[in-house]
């Protein structure tokens, strides 16, 4: 056992790695800074109201700095709590400043102790609740709710969840929805094509594409955008069909079209 082996260093490296990993697991195991503080306070083994907040703050700060040394990504709320505890610690250690009317270190410490005690109390309450006899596990409902008559009336029901889901569905449009609804805001490609087919016969010279926008679609920016996009798409389609040519002199310059003479 005492005999040195060539693997000694390696096994030590493994040990270090394991201990580092176990700490990572520990951080993951905590449900936030309060949870960590509560766990740390248990090591003081005293009534939570008499817990030494100063000592607790030091433990927490040490934990956080250890964690940082091990290059563990600490969530922001852990760091916020660390900053706050460092502030608290300074308040507790320094003599009170008579000019400062902020809360004293003792008040802040008492509140932290209260928060810890309350969290602890809620944990215990939750445990007590779950330890109660539960329906479907310890006691049971009637197995055959009775159906004694043939008389039947239909009652429609829906739950609040149904209602909210329905509303969410409508408002997010996460499912297929007929396009007709927005037609007064959307100028479709078909409409643009129809319109341009009728007009290109007159475009013997270069004509600004904007001139093809339908009436009533130029003032409102939303409508203009839609009409412009559709008209441009339609012009591409017509160019593909060999009926017009398109030209843009410069980047972002106006786009012009012209009838393609046979």
């Amino acid at each position: 056992m005492a005999e040195p082996t060539p693997f000694e260093e390696d096994s030590q490296g493994i040990r270090e790695r394991l201990s580092a990993e176990s700490l990572i697991v520990d951080v993951d195991g905590f449900e936030g800074p309060l949870d960590l503080l509560l766990t740390l306070s248990r090591t003081q083994k005293v009534d939570l109201r008499r817990v030494s907040v100063l000592q607790l703050a030091e433990q927490y700060l040490k934990f956080v700095s250890d964690a940082k040394v091990l290059r563990i990504e600490l969530a922001a709320d852990y760091l916020v709590m660390a900053a706050w505890l460092a502030f608290l610690k300074s308040r507790l250690l320094l003599p009170p400043d008579p000019l400062d009317d902020g809360p004293s270190g003792e008040e802040l410490a008492a509140h932290l102790a209260f928060q810890l005690e309350r969290l602890q109390a809620m944990r215990e309450a939750a445990a007590q609740l779950m330890a109660r006899d539960q329906k479907g596990r310890d006691f049971f409902v009637r197995g055959i709710p009775e159906d004694m008559t043939r008389k039947r009336s239909v009652r429609y029901t829906a739950t609040l969840l149904d209602l909210m889901q329905a509303y969410a569905r409508i408002r997010t449009h996460d499912e297929f929805r007929p396009f007709t609804m927005d037609r007064h805001h959307v100028f479709t490609l078909e409409e643009a094509l129809d319109r341009m087919r009728g007009m290109i016969g007159f475009a013997g010279d270069w004509t600004d594409l904007a001139g093809f926008l339908p009436e009533g679609w130029t003032a409102d920016p939303v409508r203009r955008r839609s009409a412009t996009a559709a008209t441009f798409a339609a012009s591409l389609e017509l160019a593909k069909q060999g009926r017009i040519v398109i030209r843009q002199i410069d980047t972002f310059a106006a786009i012009s079209i012209k009838r393609k003479d046979p």
Partner: protein, 218 residues
């Protein structure tokens, strides 16, 4: 009440008959199907005599509102036949509202007072007369004040019955989009171009009629 019908004692002797009667009572009550004596014996502690417990139980329920009855070679508990007239309500068949109805209802709840045209605008499809009639019949919606707009359309609002059914204290307590999203009910972001209908406009406040009517007049 005997508190301990459990294992250590039952290793040596069957539980007392009164205890066995309680067991049979609980099993017959909770079972979805009639239970045979053999099944009772299999479920009860070793050495129990379900047949005798059953006989006692049956006697105990004589003349009560509930009886122990034989169904084939099995046993079950049933309400007394002369009280059948009380059970009519038990037989109502519940059905889920259709999707059209629930969506219409949701829109009215969130946007009340809402006209038919507004509902159609939001849903993107026509609202059938039957859907509105059904909601009126359920007494979940009622007619509100007429809109002071051309045609003076009828509006719909939700009723107290609606609030009762959905366990709400007021329609204002309905969660807004942000809360729906936080609760995981709403995964998708609003469709592009719905900016005006997005979170801020109606968030949390079905009361802001001003904003809402704006929404419909755009």
């Amino acid at each position: 009440m005997s508190e301990d019908p459990t294992s250590d004692r039952s290793l040596f002797a069957a539980p007392p008959l009164g205890e066995q009667e309680r067991m049979v009572e609980a099993i017959l009550f909770a079972s979805a199907d009639p239970v045979t004596v053999a099944e009772l014996a299999a479920r009860m502690p070793h050495g129990a005599d379900p047949a005798e417990a059953l006989a006692n139980l049956r006697k105990r329920y004589e003349g009560r509102g509930v009886r122990v009855v034989r169904v084939g070679d099995a046993w079950a508990m049933r309400t007394a036949p002369d009280l059948g007239f009380l059970m009519h309500k038990e037989t109502v068949e519940t059905r889920k509202l259709s999707r059209a109805a629930i969506e219409t209802l949701a829109i009215i709840a969130y946007h009340q007072p809402a006209t038919r045209a507004e509902i159609e605008e939001i849903r993107g499809v026509a609202v059938s007369r039957g859907t509105v009639d059904q909601l009126l019949e359920l007494e979940w919606i009622r007619f509100g004040r007429r809109r002071m707009t051309p045609g003076r359309p009828v509006t719909y609002v939700v009723t107290q019955g609606f609030l009762d059914h959905f366990g709400l204290e007021s329609a204002r307590d309905l969660p807004g989009l942000k809360e729906l999203r936080a609760a995981g009910l709403l995964d998708n972001r609003p469709a592009p171009g719905l900016g005006a209908l997005g979170d801020d406009a109606e968030e949390d406040d079905p009361e802001t009629i001003g904003k809402q009517s704006q929404l419909f007049e755009e």
